[in-house]
Amino acid sequence: MVGVVIVSHSQKVAEGIREMALQMSAPEQKIIAAGGMADGGIGTDAFQVSEAIISANTGDGVAVMVDLGSAVLSTETAFEFLDEELRAKVQIADAPILEGAISAVVEASLGSALAAVIATAEGARTLNKC
């Protein structure tokens, strides 16, 4: 099953999204929060992200959800710390972080491949709420 990593500048946001996404997940699905700095402050930490990616991977790859552009910078920096094999199956979704994460988790729970999980996450851009 594709793992999902949630990279936010805020630890609370990443953990809260994870808790919401867990409600829609399959048992044993990997959803890892990588939010905030090591000291709990607002920011992103590329090393925390690379560790999260490693723990989210069960062999089928990892979809990474990010909040702001600078989370992309950290995530792409994190990619450089991964071995080639894992790096080839990790992808950032260009999607809203919360809506994308929940959509991604639902898609991954159905056993879909990474490309489909990313596509569904990105489709969350156009979901209407009201």
Binding site: A38, L73, E76
Partner: protein, 209 residues
């Protein structure tokens, strides 16, 4: 680590830490008001890390550690950007215990390429690149006419300062300041400013030797 190398990095770090408030104020105007806090936190972490590298004389290895430390401690966009810059600058300086004009030119080139790649940015987007790219070009102009390291860095600093001024005239199209669109004009970019003051600190330290 040679005393010289340690002192250069410390000088740069202390300057950033000393300009913490100024950088934060610049970022408060067009961003989230943390650039000084981020950079100072990063260089505090570097300072702590340098203690553990006392016996390391390889400039490349030290710069690699600086880059890794910035990546893990800065927090904002500047973390991966400057972190990558230091990691890339560590490549041409690997195995070296002293630097000449040519190597510094290669280091600047690699650092800028890293920032451009990481940030998917180019000059004219109101970022650190608007200080660093002209600084590199001026440095290379000096190098071509046989100038010394200090002379080349003088040219680079002057160009960087002009680059910082230039950032006041343009709108941000990368990073958080781009949220403000037209409203970002008239303010100088915090990242360009920190790049300039790091170069300046390096120059002033070398002049004091």
């Amino acid at each position: 680590m040679s005393g010289e190398l340690y002192e250069v990095i410390s000088a740069v770090g202390e300057t950033i830490i000393g300009n913490r408030q100024m950088l934060t104020d610049l970022d408060a105007a067009i961003g989230d008001g943390d650039h000084g806090i981020n950079m100072a936190r990063g260089f505090e972490a570097v300072k702590a890390k340098l203690q553990t590298l006392e016996t390391e004389s390889d400039i490349g290895k030290v710069l690699k550690t600086v880059g890794m430390t910035l990546i893990s401690s800065v927090g904002g966009a500047a973390g991966p950007l400057y972190g990558t810059a230091f990691l890339r600058a560590a490549v041409p300086s690997q195995g070296k215990t002293e630097l000449d004009v040519e190597t510094i030119g290669l280091m600047l080139e690699a650092a800028i390429a890293g920032i451009k790649e990481r940030g998917k940015a180019t000059t004219g987007e109101k970022t650190m690149l608007d200080a660093l790219v002209p600084a590199y070009e001026a440095f290379q102009d000096g190098a071509k006419t046989g100038k010394s390291v200090i002379e080349c860095l003088e040219l680079a600093c002057e160009a960087a300062q002009q680059g910082v001024e230039f950032t006041k005239t343009i709108i941000a199209t990368k990073g958080r300041a781009s949220y403000l669109g037209e409203r970002s004009r008239g303010h100088q970019d915090p990242g360009a400013t920190s790049s300039y003051i790091m170069l300046k600190a390096l120059l002033e330290h070398l002049r004091r030797q």
